[in-house]
Symmetry: C2
Subunit: 124 residues, 2 copies
């Protein structure tokens, strides 16, 4: 048996692989916090902006569009008075957000270790 | 029982929490790929640079220093002729890199879904 064609094997290390750009999109500055927030449930734009502490309106809008493009997030316009726009995770977005939640749990538990490392670090 | 003091609860959503800055450090542009590479084993600087396709010498150096500061990566100078510098994960770095590997696995498996979503996406 020969190896499968490289074109058929996805690899986040390969610059041209879709998985690499998707990995970069979901770990981008605000994207991972947006995915973590939507992992808690659907949000309207303004509520999401309050949840993701520090994000600007412009950055949140750009981040949501990038996540919609990658098939992680849905945007639903709900007919009501006034109409409202709701964001939620797709099935793929749920899988990705679940892994980001696991990562966040590790880091929340590691605060004492990180603080100790920073206190003892001497820049070269 | 009252809730514990907010200062004692770590939360990646809180702007001032150490876990938030550590989360941002390990998901930064090159940091997550460096952690994924070191999850495979220790690397010398130049071999690591080849593995993390596209990173500049300057960005790799800055990324490694940030990860050392957070206690994720160790830097060992090996006495030899010529001397060499080797990078490896700490126990905490292993835990973090393991979660990033899980995330990368999801995205590598999701390439068809992501490509289908991108092909059908109409920017607003």
């Amino acid at each position: 048996m020969t190896d499968p064609s490289p074109a058929l094997v996805s690899d986040v290390f390969a610059r041209d692989c879709t998985s690499r750009s998707a990995f970069e999109d979901v770990t981008a500055k605000w994207a991972s916090l947006v995915l973590l927030a939507l992992h808690e449930g659907g949000y309207r734009f303004n509520a999401l902006r309050r949840r993701v502490d520090g994000v600007s309106e412009k950055m949140l809008s750009q981040t949501l569009q990038s996540l919609e493009r990658d098939g992680m997030v849905t945007r639903d316009v709900v007919t009501a008075i006034p109409p409202r726009v709701e964001y939620a995770l797709t099935a793929l977005g749920q899988r990705v957000a679940g892994r980001l939640r696991d990562l966040a749990d590790v880091l929340e538990d590691a605060v004492p270790e990180v603080e100790q490392a920073r206190a003892g670090h001497r820049p070269r």
